[in-house]
């Protein structure tokens, strides 16, 4: 066995640990940088005190709010205070709702998680079989179809695809509700839109991996031994071709959790993405900052997980 956990020994554990520490350190640095950038950027977007005070506020109202929320302090001081709080889960209160940011996020994150997991499942169920078939029959009609699907998926804006689905399946056919999150049926259209977005990458990678593996010597040997062709395809070929796909799927999931903003807004799904979108419009800084940090942490974590998974499965990566 060239790949796989069977080759377990002390040297491997040490190599893995060193790799793990290196990646963890890198991930922490990335997260910190993202938080710093997002924190600074928001202060270029206008005076939060004016937004907070509302349309009818007087000069005194705005000044009072400025002092109350500490906007008159230097930005580095505000950043350090915020980051210190963040380590203990204290992101302050939302300016808009005047309730703890952490409560708002924990209320809404499950919807986004559900949607993200459903989306990635849909993407894998669609993309992997299509990729495999396309690889078995390269340049066939089904390969062309798969290519078409992936080109369209990459070119079509999410909001437009969402509206097209709504018009066809909710308005004209009446099969599914237009918006909301009351039942599982409410999640069908958003799942398709979100999942479809990740389909092209996964499919192309599955196809490329399968093409490469199917040409490998050990597959030829397996075939020559007269093994069942299905067994060759799924046990020997797909398993090896799947390694990079798993990594990509993990990264795509991270992208989906942070990237469902438009979809949640269109389908009126009350998740963390919609909260982010609305909070940006309302200049609700504590919420935006916490969400950017959270989304980037999830992304960094999933990327890290994908790296580690690949390293575990493929020794060449962890030595490099």
């Amino acid at each position: 066995m060239q790949y796989g956990p069977a080759a377990f020994n002390t040297a491997k554990v040490i190599l893995m640990l060193r790799f793990l520490l290196k990646r963890l350190g890198l991930a922490a640095l990335v997260a910190l940088t993202v938080s710093l950038i997002s924190f600074s950027l928001l202060f270029l977007a206008g005076d939060p005190a004016v937004a907070l005070a509302g349309e009818a506020a007087t000069e005194e109202d705005i000044e009072a709010i400025r002092t109350q929320y500490g906007f008159d302090r230097p930005i580095p001081v505000q950043y350090v205070a915020w980051l210190t709080g963040a380590f203990t889960g204290d992101f302050g209160n939302s300016y808009y709702f005047n309730t703890p940011v952490i409560d708002l996020i924990s209320d809404r994150l499950p919807t986004t998680m559900q949607l993200g997991l459903a989306g990635i499942t849909f993407a894998l169920l669609l993309a992997v079989p299509l990729g495999v078939i396309a690889a078995i029959r390269p340049n066939s009609l089904i390969d062309r179809f798969a290519l078409f699907i992936s080109v369209v998926g990459q070119a079509m804006p999410t909001f437009w695809f969402s509206l097209i689905l709504i018009v066809i399946f909710a308005v004209n056919m009446g099969w599914v509700p237009v918006s909301g999150s009351g039942t599982w049926q409410h999640f069908i259209l958003p799942t398709i839109v979100l999942g479809y977005f990740a389909t092209p990458g996964i499919m192309r990678l599955t196809r490329a991996g399968m093409l490469e593996v199917l040409r490998a010597d050990y597959i030829r040997t397996a075939r020559a031994k007269g093994l069942n062709p299905a067994k060759v395809l799924f046990k020997h070929a797909l398993r090896n071709a799947a390694i990079p796909v798993v990594g990509l799927a993990a990264v795509q999931l991270g992208f989906m959790l942070g990237g469902s903003i438009v979809i949640e807004s269109i389908f009126a799904l009350n998740g963390a993405g919609l909260l982010a979108f609305e909070s940006i419009n309302r200049n609700d800084f504590p919420v935006v900052q916490a969400l950017i940090l959270l989304f980037s942490l999830i992304y960094v974590l999933l990327t890290l997980l994908a790296d580690l998974l690949n390293a575990w499965l493929d020794p060449r990566i962890r030595v490099a």
Partner: protein, 502 residues
């Protein structure tokens, strides 16, 4: 082919349609764009909050939309005892949704609680005029204002609603926002944050008040941020009522025959202001001829006719025409580009000039005005940003020329607009002592005729000096199921207790 059809049919059968809102069970499903910040009516800063407040709570009075008279709501009568004291006789036999009886203690508690700045009412201007309230007996209270404040009744008929003193003190502000209680025609029975509210008809609502006894049993109030989604809900039959529908889409909905479209003006007006008072620095606008030239250069009629449409109209005074004190008989600047060019030449700007120009909404209107200005040689340099950023710069004195709008918070009194912008504050770019004095007078005397005269002086001066170019009033399209009877009002507060299924 047949199998595809069958699969489709099976698919459809497996997905029962969402309960169609509508006349069958006497319920109503409505959609709004924004999630409210809080359900506490005194901390809520959204239009949605104003609308909810009108349903769940009552004020002491309520302005009749047709006569503009204040009618008793929780009060049955009121008198001004002097310039700063109002006496109210309270309605008897009224109860809150939880059964708590309404009496003078509720009014006194509410007034004194909200008047205390430490309790953080937002915005403060809704309550900063209240000094204190005193109970005379169970059905009589006095409300004292902080100096003469003639617009008091407008606030008591709007944002200042009455809270239940016992319940509020028992649960505290946070508990109250979580489970609010009022005396209004609807009680709030469910709140799914960010998604929906459920309102149920309050069966014990008093019969002889100015608000109609509600006909519809249950209102599902959904939050749907995306305008296209609200429209799709309407088309799919999952929604009975939406508003703020753009006119082209409203026309299409009307064409289906299943939807009624009603257009009503709102209290919001658009305006251009000029840096006449040198806040920004030396600009061509220091010369009144240049301000008049701009006023003549812009074809407001064409913008209303082609872009705003509906119930919108060109306005000439620095206020919404139906507001108290809004004298519309002021100097008018008809569209006349030749005259504009002549005035510019006279002022020494025959070749025109460049000027920074800020705007935050309706970019198409702003661009129409810019092309009108270009036709007379003026080149506005558009800086289009979000409201908070724009207003921040304006209040810091950094914007010499801007297209802005103001909705007066639905307060039907010119003090909510003209006095906000022309009394020498951070939004005042004219800083005209004559205008400031006239507004000061209008804001602090109680005799209606004298107030009108004072505001008229201010508005005439503003128009003569062309400190603002008032542009147009805004309108909104209400779209609802044809079987629903619904009447919108110009205060932009849709009320569903007046709605019913035919």
């Amino acid at each position: 082919m047949r199998s595809t059809l069958l699969a489709a049919a099976a698919f459809a059968a497996a997905f029962p349609l969402p309960t169609l809102a509508g006349s069958d069970d006497n319920s109503l499903t409505v959609a709004f764009a924004r999630e409210m910040d809080t359900l506490n009516p005194f901390l809520n800063t959204t239009r949605e909050g104003v609308i909810l407040s009108r349903h769940v709570w009552d004020g002491l009075v309520l302005r009749n939309q047709e006569t503009n008279e204040y009618e008793g709501n929780l009060a049955t009568g009121y008198t001004w005892i002097d310039d700063t004291t109002l006496e109210f006789t309270l309605r008897e036999g009224v109860t809150f949704h939880n059964g708590e009886p309404f009496n003078a203690d509720d009014v006194v508690f509410t007034m004194n609680f909200v008047a205390d700045p430490d309790n953080g009412v937002n915005p403060q201007r809704n309550v900063s005029w209240i000094k204190e309230a005193v109970k005379i007996d169970d059905n009589t209270v006095l409300i004292m204002t902080d100096g003469p404040f003639p617009a008091a009744l407008e606030f008591l008929g709007g944002p200042v609603v009455i809270l239940p003193d016992q319940y509020f003190q028992e649960v505290g502000p946070d508990g109250f926002a979580a489970a609010p209680i009022g005396t209004g025609p609807y009680k709030l029975t469910e709140n799914v944050p960010g998604e929906s509210l459920t309102l149920e008809r309050f069966a014990d609502y008093y019969a002889d008040g100015p608000k109609a006894i509600a006909s519809i049993d249950t209102i599902t109030w959904r939050t749907i941020p995306d305008a296209n989604t609200r429209l799709a809900e309407m088309l799919s039959g999952g929604m009975d009522w939406i508003w703020q529908v753009p006119s082209d889409q409203a026309d299409r909905l009307a064409a289906t025959g299943r939807h009624a479209v009603v257009n009503e003006s709102t209290m919001r007006i658009g305006y251009l202001y000029f840096d006449a008072g040198d806040r920004y620095g030396d600009t061509p606008f220091d010369d009144v001829r240049v301000r008049r030239a701009v006023s003549h250069a812009i074809n407001r009629e064409a913008i209303v006719e082609n872009l705003l449409k509906g119930a919108s109209e060109v306005v000439h005074s620095a206020c919404f025409p139906r507001q108290f004190g809004c004298d519309t008989d002021v100097a008018r600047y008809e569209y006349d580009p030749e005259k504009a060019k002549a005035l510019l030449a006279e002022a020494g700007y025959a070749d025109g000039f460049k000027i920074p120009f800020a705007a935050y909404r309706n970019r198409d209107y702003a661009e129409a005005m810019m092309s009108d200005l270009a036709a007379v040689g003026i080149t506005p340099q558009l800086d289009y940003k979000k409201y908070a950023a724009t207003r921040d710069q304006i209040q810091a004195g950094e914007v010499p020329f801007a297209f802005m709008t103001w909705g007066s918070y639905s307060i039907n009194d010119v003090s909510a607009i003209t006095s906000t912008f022309f009394k020498g504050g951070i939004d005042d770019y004219a800083r005209d002592p004559e205008v400031i004095a006239a507004l000061q007078e209008g804001d602090t005397i109680t005799d209606p005729a004298e107030r009108e005269a004072a505001y008229s002086r201010a508005l005439n001066r503003i128009a003569d000096e062309a400190y603002w170019l008032p542009l147009f009033s805004y309108n909104t399209n209400y779209v609802h199921a044809t079987e629903l009877s619904f009447t919108p009002t110009p205060d932009e507060i849709p009320t569903f207790y007046g709605a019913s299924w035919n």
